[in-house]
């Protein structure tokens, strides 16, 4: 093995570790930015105030958020995996939003910091499309 490599094994090791980590994190950011989530619609408040078009747009957005943050526990099709089946939910919109915002201790993390009120509304609208 060349003298350069032997002499600089430690530096090359550090460089490799940094490059591998940077590549993994960089790839994650690039692929995440490719996800066609899109901008929030103009209106994203309580369900009662939304038009049908707003609900549809929010639900599409909510689907993207769901895939990113919820699918690994609830399944891509929301029919449950480690988390429960989310089809045909019989709880109120307020309850859905409360659960997403606050989580459930020991079972589900809180998403209040990740998704603001508009993001949670989008997830709510998506879940309401699941029969």
């Amino acid at each position: 093995m060349s003298a350069f490599v032997e002499k600089n094994a430690a530096g090359l090791g550090v460089l490799s570790g940094v490059l591998a980590l940077g590549a993994a994190l960089g790839l994650a950011e690039i692929m995440k930015s490719q996800t066609p989530i899109g901008p929030l619609p103009a209106s994203s408040g309580p369900a009662a105030t939304l038009t049908a078009a707003d609900k549809q747009a929010l639900a599409a957005l909510g689907r993207g958020y769901f895939i990113q943050s919820c699918a690994h526990c609830h399944g891509d099709d929301a029919r449950g995996d480690e988390g429960p089946n989310l089809h045909g939910l019989k709880i109120s919109n307020a309850r859905i939003e409360h659960r997403i915002r606050n989580g459930s201790k020991g079972r589900m993390p809180s998403f209040a910091k990740k998704y603001g009120p508009a993001g949670i509304a989008a997830l709510r609208e998506y879940l309401r499309t699941l029969n």
């Binding site: 032997e6 090791g13 490799s16 570790g17 980590l21 993994a24 690994h72 399944g75 995996d81």
Partner: protein, 142 residues
């Protein structure tokens, strides 16, 4: 033919145990090598430690990629997933770096340098084990 919606989760579960087990095994073999006086056995244990580390790193790449695909490229999640990521990323970087150093230095390193390497490898194995623990928490407790 429909794709299993949980394919990537299953691939992650299958691949992720290799870096955990092999990092811990590498540390065990190298630690035993330091304790043993018989030169032949010491060399054999060091070789086992080396190959366990290399195989562990090779297993780490599919584990990392399948994990990222599974979480839709979320590299810093929330709740238990955040804890999992906080341990995974330093463990991954350290494991790759130490494996490269070990592959380049082979048997040229002095006892003092190897002791430093072993200390870092113990830290790495601890981080990988903690990442595995939080992965289990995600599985069991959401």
């Amino acid at each position: 033919m429909t794709t299993d919606p949980n394919l990537w989760a299953k691939l992650h579960g299958a691949s992720t145990h290799f870096p955990v087990a092999l990092a811990l095994s590498s540390v065990l073999f190298d630690s035993l090598a330091m304790a043993i006086s018989n030169p032949e056995r010491r060399m054999g244990l060091r070789a086992a430690g080396f190959y366990a580390l290399i195989l562990g790193v090779l297993g780490a790449f599919p584990a990392v990629i399948s994990g990222l695909v599974m979480t839709r490229w979320d590299s810093l999640g929330s709740g238990p997933l955040l804890w999992h990521h906080c341990f995974v990323w330093p463990a991954f970087g350290l494991m790759v770096g130490l494996a490269v150093w070990r592959a380049l230095a082979r048997n040229q390193a002095s006892s003092r340098v190897f002791a430093i390497y072993l200390a870092l490898m113990i830290l790495t194995a601890g981080l990988v084990a903690a990442a595995g623990y939080w992965g289990g928490e995600l599985l069991l407790n959401g």
